[in-house]
């Protein structure tokens, strides 16, 4: 069977992927937009699951499904092929890809150019008991509500920092649910500072005020600088224990609070999904202020691998506005490389987008500072807290190996199986990098990312055998 060829393959259909696709679709190029979810839109443009069946089920891929107009950016261009829910299992430097689709199994495709728009996932600072059912990420609680109209419990405790904690609280209240308390890691001063940072971005300020208004109206108690340190329950969450964290990362004496709740939604920021670009051989950079390991790109969004581009959260966490801009940037660069956009026009449009991106990056830097966790907190995680949820590896085990001299994540993985489970280290790897940095005594350590291998997501062996 011949290998299907595309001019551009875009992996991830969130703001950056859709931004790129809508620019490229105006030209006579064969484009494939891939997403693992049933719907396009990514995490931020999620919409209610109930859609006319042909729209959200990917049973006819990769054929001419119209891009859904409810994201606000629609197209009926028939050179744009969308396949969902589909998963890219591997990408190779010669721009061949292994694609797994629900109806056609695994097959190989190839591209002249690739855009990685793989987005981000949530990060949670581990605490004792965080694996109990009833503890979920802010994003998980939001997806249940936004996409499926399900409140995980009649009363929900929220813990975290940044806009998502407040946005989620406001959405829960708006849907008729009850938020018992918001435990905000950041200080009140940081929150006021946010208004200054967002100056010029009126819609964001408006959203923030609406959320705060709802919290005040419902008399939801907001506690600043609080962090959950332990949760208890038999088979299911029952009790949450939180302490006040001083600016030096230590717990304030006598600040301990107990809350009875069946549902805790928590989050400490986001981590870029760099596994596929890493597998392709793209250079990475470790930048704590941008979310950890990010993909290195130049001004045209091209990675260190020629013809392979990265856009959105994987080049630094900064929210959907930056993602949309970078998706468009990557698309313009490809058009220029393909000779479909002359260099003069390209440079003018690129300069305008880069200028807009600066403001978003300022907002991103602020967010990442707000999410920053003091090394003392990483180093102080309870010995009984599980770090690798797949393999049930505790902080105590990891601490023991660090004391024995282990200094890198790959070595820790070999010693403990931490990061070797079914999620392939997606949940614990970002935690391990920070724990190693915080616990290491012998000065500054150069972090090494865990290696990534094809297939990047588990699939039945039979699917590969039919390839």
């Amino acid at each position: 069977m011949g290998i299907e060829a595309y001019d551009v393959v875009i992996i991830g259909a969130g703001p950056s992927g859709i931004g790129a696709a809508t620019v490229l679709a105006e030209y006579s190029l064969k484009i494939l937009l891939i997403d693992e979810n049933n719907q396009i839109g990514g995490q931020i443009w999620r919409k209610p699951a109930y859609q006319p069946v042909s729209r959200f089920r990917g049973h006819q891929p990769p054929t001419r499904q119209p891009m859904d107009l409810s994201t606000g950016i629609g197209t009926d261009k028939n050179n744009l092929h969308i396949t969902t829910p589909s998963c890219v299992l591997g990408v190779f430097p010669d721009k061949h890809l292994l694609l797994s689709t629900s109806d056609q199994g695994v097959r190989e495709i190839k591209a002249r150019s690739i855009i990685f728009a793989t987005g981000a996932r949530e990060k949670v600072l581990p605490f004792k008991g965080w694996t109990l059912p009833g503890v979920m990420t802010l994003g998980a609680a939001q997806i249940l509500l936004k996409q499926y109209g399900v409140l995980a419990s009649s009363e929900i405790l929220i813990s975290g920092a940044g806009p998502l904690a407040y946005l989620l609280s406001s959405q829960i209240i708006g849907a008729g649910g009850k938020v018992t308390t918001v435990l905000d890691r950041s200080s009140l001063a940081t929150m006021l500072n946010a208004v200054w940072v967002m100056a010029g971005q009126l819609p964001k300020i408006g959203e923030g005020l609406l959320a705060l208004g709802r919290l005040i109206k419902k008399r939801v108690s907001v506690k600043h600088r609080m962090q959950v340190v332990e949760v208890k329950g038999k088979d299911k969450l029952q009790e949450v224990i939180a302490v006040r964290i001083a600016s030096d990362g230590t717990a304030v004496d006598g600040s301990q609070q107990r809350y009875e709740t069946q549902m805790l939604a928590c989050g400490n920021g986001f981590v870029p999904n760099i596994e596929l670009p890493q597998l392709t051989g793209c250079d990475l950079i470790y930048a704590v202020d941008k979310g950890g390991w990010i993909v290195k790109t130049d001004r045209s969004m091209e990675t260190s691998v020629s013809g392979v581009f990265a856009a959105g959260e994987i080049t630094g966490i900064a929210g959907s506005d930056k993602s949309l801009i970078e998706g468009r940037l990557a698309a313009l660069s490809i058009l220029n490389q393909f000779g479909k956009l002359n260099s003069k026009k390209y440079r003018i449009r690129r300069a305008a987008l880069l200028n807009k991106r600066k403001h978003c990056q300022r907002f991103g830097a602020f967010l990442n500072r707000q999410w920053a966790i003091h090394p003392r907190e990483w180093a102080g995680i309870d010995d009984a807290a599980i770090i690798c949820r797949c393999e049930d590896i505790t902080m105590g085990t990891i601490r023991g190996w660090i004391k024995k001299g282990i200094r890198s994540a790959p070595d820790l993985k070999r010693a403990t199986r931490c990061g070797m489970g079914i999620c392939q280290g997606r949940t614990c790897a970002p935690l391990i990098y920070e724990i190693l940095a915080a616990c290491s005594v012998a000065g500054k350590q150069e972090p090494h990312p865990l290696s990534v291998r094809t297939p990047v997501k588990p699939i039945p062996l039979g699917d590969l055998a039919r390839l």
Partner: protein
């Protein structure tokens, strides 16, 4: 805004301000459970009051954590064979879902 309780001991709640697909029936460990077309298994299970989906390597209870296909904590057995992420799999009429924590 009103809320709908699917059964009297369910702790998950479906809000009524969201348009839903047709009501369907599926099975959780052989038990009749209702869901709506378009819902994922995890949404339907949480709405029906199920929180523990599987047991970990050391037999600890686990349920929905990331809700977006990253963490694999919500793995369930579907139709007596394949193991799927409940948060990424759409529930279907008559589907048999096995969870390890009931």
């Amino acid at each position: 805004m009103g809320i709908i309780k699917d059964s009297k001991n369910a702790s998950g709640i479906r809000i009524d301000s969201l348009q839903r697909g047709r009501k369907i029936v599926f099975f959780v460990n052989g038990r009749y459970t209702t869901a709506y077309m378009g819902e994922t298994i995890h949404a339907a299970l949480i709405a029906a009051g199920y929180h523990q989906f599987r047991k970990s390597k050391t037999c600890q209870p686990r349920g929905v954590f990331c809700g977006m296909g990253v963490c694999y904590e919500c793995l369930v057995t579907v139709n007596n064979g394949s193991i799927q992420r409940a948060c990424m799999t759409v529930v279907e009429e008559g589907m048999e879902v096995e969870i390890d924590g009931d």
